[in-house]
């Protein structure tokens, strides 16, 4: 039984917002061309480190071969220097509470790490040792490439990975972005000398970006970087990738996964980068469509129909092009109905204006969550790196509320028509083809892998 005590029954209003302080970014470009950004954020006695080195394939080279080598390089960069073994490097990092890891994608090599903030000089020193002296010992390379190949095989058995692989191939055709994970057999063929050559020609400071965020003095941190990375030198001078192609619609691409209890639906649609005049309108159109929980897509195929657990739509940015990707993993028996609803929601947002209420809600979400993304050392480091690499800088984030505020219902409608129209979609379904083929074919032409 409820008590008779009075309590609020209506949603309280928002109090006046408190503005977040715009972090001061200390910057220095070293003589070797490395650009260094440091932000003091003393919330915990740690420091976060991100080093981004452009790593796109050189023109005329087979993108997949470059990616294969780059992937093995990223797995073995910390496998030894003239003075240190894998274990020595890892143990030395641990002594200052530190750790480093290396990852690679079609655009860049990324070294990520952190440490207790008092350990920053040592973290940088070890980073410098690796950048200037990684030796890629043959034994370690052989072991790590086999391990990487095994891990890729593991990834390929995941439906999410297989669906993404099919979508990228379909979407990007002959562009290097078409393959974003190397083939295990090719990985097993990589040899140490090729890695040493790749490191010497591409792991270089000119054009690279280093971000440090944490409980550090920016001036001292910049000096520590300069001291530790002074000996790192060189310039690769590889041109940017050619622009990625726009999604080219065609028949639904059905990839068989016999026995699958779900179908993985993936649709690629148009996109623009953050600097484009249409970006904010598209961002808001995407939110209303499927970009957050309170979207039409989630309310339809999850909260109303129960077809799926986490349908989602997001704009993803690579250096040579942006794309909107819709994903949903649905029960096999509702594959066609789920596709129908996704197509319906895309058609609806492309052909009819959103309501002012829908727009305001999405705008408030997009504005409010900007603060959340920079409220930790790791979040701020990642955001600062991403925005700087995109040529925008942190100011973009702080100026974004004003740009979002200016977007109208008409702007959202125009962006949705231009970028989210279902007629533009590249569609991939990974699932049990013997079960879904017939029902999916009822919706339109189907091609099979």
């Amino acid at each position: 039984m409820t008590t008779l005590t009075a309590y609020p029954r209506e949603l309280p209003g928002l109090t006046p917002p408190r503005k977040g302080r715009r972090p001061a970014v200390a910057e220095r470009v070293l003589a070797n061309g490395l650009r260094v950004l440091v932000v003091r954020r003393p919330s915990v006695p740690l420091v976060e480190l991100r080093l981004r080195i452009p790593f796109q394939p050189a023109p005329g080279r087979r993108g997949a071969a470059h990616l294969t080598r780059a992937s093995v390089l990223s797995q073995t960069m910390l496998s030894g220097t003239a003075e240190m073994s894998t274990v020595d490097i890892a143990a030395s990092l641990q002594e200052v509470g530190g750790g480093l890891s290396v990852g690679v994608d079609a655009d860049r090599l990324l070294v990520s790490g952190n440490a207790l903030s008092t350990g920053l000089p040592r973290l940088l020193e070890l980073l410098g040792d690796v950048l200037t002296g990684a030796t890629y010992p043959s034994g370690e390379v052989a072991a790590e490439r086999d391990r990487l190949a095994d891990r890729i095989e593991m990834a390929e058995s995941q439906p999410a990975h297989a669906a993404r692989k099919a979508l990228l191939g379909r979407l990007y055709g002959t562009h290097p972005y078409a393959v974003q994970t190397p083939e295990p057999e090719e990985v097993r063929g990589v040899r140490a000398p090729a890695l040493r050559t790749l490191h010497a020609s591409r792991v270089l400071p000119a054009g690279a970006l280093l971000v440090l965020v944490g409980d550090v003095s920016p001036a001292r941190a910049l000096d520590a970087v300069e001291a530790a990375l002074d000996g790192w030198a060189g310039s690769a001078d590889v041109p940017d990738l050619r622009p990625a192609p726009e999604p080219e619609p065609g028949p639904l691409w059905l990839v068989d996964r016999p026995g699958s209890v779900q179908s993985s639906l993936r649709l690629a649609l148009g996109g623009v980068d953050r600097a484009h005049a249409d970006y904010q309108a598209l961002q808001l159109a995407n939110l209303v469509f499927g970009g957050y929980f309170s979207s039409r897509l989630v309310e339809n195929i999850r909260e109303d129909k129960g077809y799926t657990y986490s349908p989602h739509s997001s704009i993803s940015h690579l250096a040579a092009g942006s794309v909107t990707v819709v994903d949903a993993d649905v029960a096999t028996e509702v594959t066609a109905p789920a596709l129908l609803e996704i197509g319906y929601e895309l058609g609806r947002i492309a052909s009819l204006p959103v309501t002012q209420e829908e727009l305001d809600q999405a705008r408030q979400y997009a504005t409010g969550t900007l603060q959340l993304s920079v409220a930790s050392q790791g979040g701020l480091a990642a955001t600062l790196l991403t925005l700087t690499a995109a040529g925008l800088g942190l100011d973009w984030l702080y100026d974004q509320p004003a740009r979002l505020a200016a977007v109208t219902v008409e702007d959202v409608h125009a962006a949705a028509t231009r970028y989210l129209a279902p007629a533009r979609a590249v569609t991939v379904v990974l699932g049990d083809a013997s079960v879904v083929r017939e029902s999916v074919s009822a919706l339109g032409p189907v091609e099979e892998a």
Binding site: T5, P17, V44, G97, S157, Q158, G306, Y309, D329, G378
Partner: protein, 431 residues
Amino acid sequence: MTVPSLSHPVERFTLDNGLRVVLVPDRSAPVVGVAVVYDVGIRSEPEGRTGFAHLFEHLMFQGSENLEKLAHFRHVQASGGIFNGSTHLDYTDYYELLPSNALERGLFLEADRMRAPRITEENLANQIAVVKEEIRVNVMNRPYGGFPWLRLPPVVFDTFPNAHDGYGSFVDLESATVEDASAFFDTFYAPSNAVLCLAGDLDPEQVAGLVERHFASVPERGTPKRPDFSEPDLDAERRESYEDALAPLPAVAMAWRVPDPIGDFEAYLPYVVLAEVLTDGDASRLVERLLLKDRTATSVSGYCGFMGDAFDVRDPTVLILSMHSPPGVEPDRVLRAVEQELDRLATDGLAAAELHRVQARLATHLLGQVDPVMSRTLSMAVLEQQRGRAELAGELPRLLAEVTTEQIRAAAAMLRPDRRAVLEVRAGGAR
């Protein structure tokens, strides 16, 4: 290297209805975390209702006394915030991360569903369908689904609360009724069975008044007595295996019972550090042995607690080691190597320098977890509920740094083959 600790300014009080409240101000960013943690989890669900605690968590988002279905999501997101909930062995959490000007909204939303969630046949049927898709995507349709967290408990434990599948069987989920949900709510979702934690950009004095305004009227409903879930330790090795039709590589996991994480906290801490000595990074014992030297594993992980957090779990729990292997590697080879490494550690101990570097790295992991406001709010809520010590969130690095080499040696000596439970995954999807 000295291991730092953090002292968070914690204020706490209890409302007349028994709700415990923790306030942790931090004005460094205009962001606030709101978490309500209920002292009920997978272990408390009734027999024949596996997966019910998690299903019920979904139902708590389906509307409440003054909120229609979908309103909760919309109100949080239209305030510029994010939300979620999650079900664990010993608790269930609900949370929002909000711009601080929406703090009172968060309180309203949480109070409204603590007072009366709106549980209907239609919402129940809808969320049973959603949860089934969640289980398909996270367990059934992927290799290694539920390994080891859902697969290992029935090997280690004998009683239903500890051994059953927390995601639930489809039969049990489909059997759930609105009456079950009402009874579950009445029993476990009383204010006196919950902790409300608010951390971030807030003024404690002002917020205390707001908490009173929204939560004081939630009726007291009696506090359930938590059953004793304890089980005796294993007296002989247990070993099981299953074939995973989708898995391309074999895998193996092993588990040992560890001291009561709360009642025997001092004795538990060495096991938390031991898991890191064994598995954290390329300089750890098992990575060096299995990945770099023997090459019998492609990945190794080790931790206390089935869900990977050593400090959000009650007794009984375990230390888990798990590894995936290259094709064709017999699990016995891996098991023998692990035995040898544990034996070496138990016999020869480890150098102080090795322990210190592991403790420094562990401090970085733990401090990194309390930096983001949301994860700080959540872990402080759980620590308050289970231990009455939200402050531990900042103190753990130092406490773990006090573990000695002798304690590590003694803990390693307890991880004997005759006390372990082993689960092998046969690679049914090998090429």
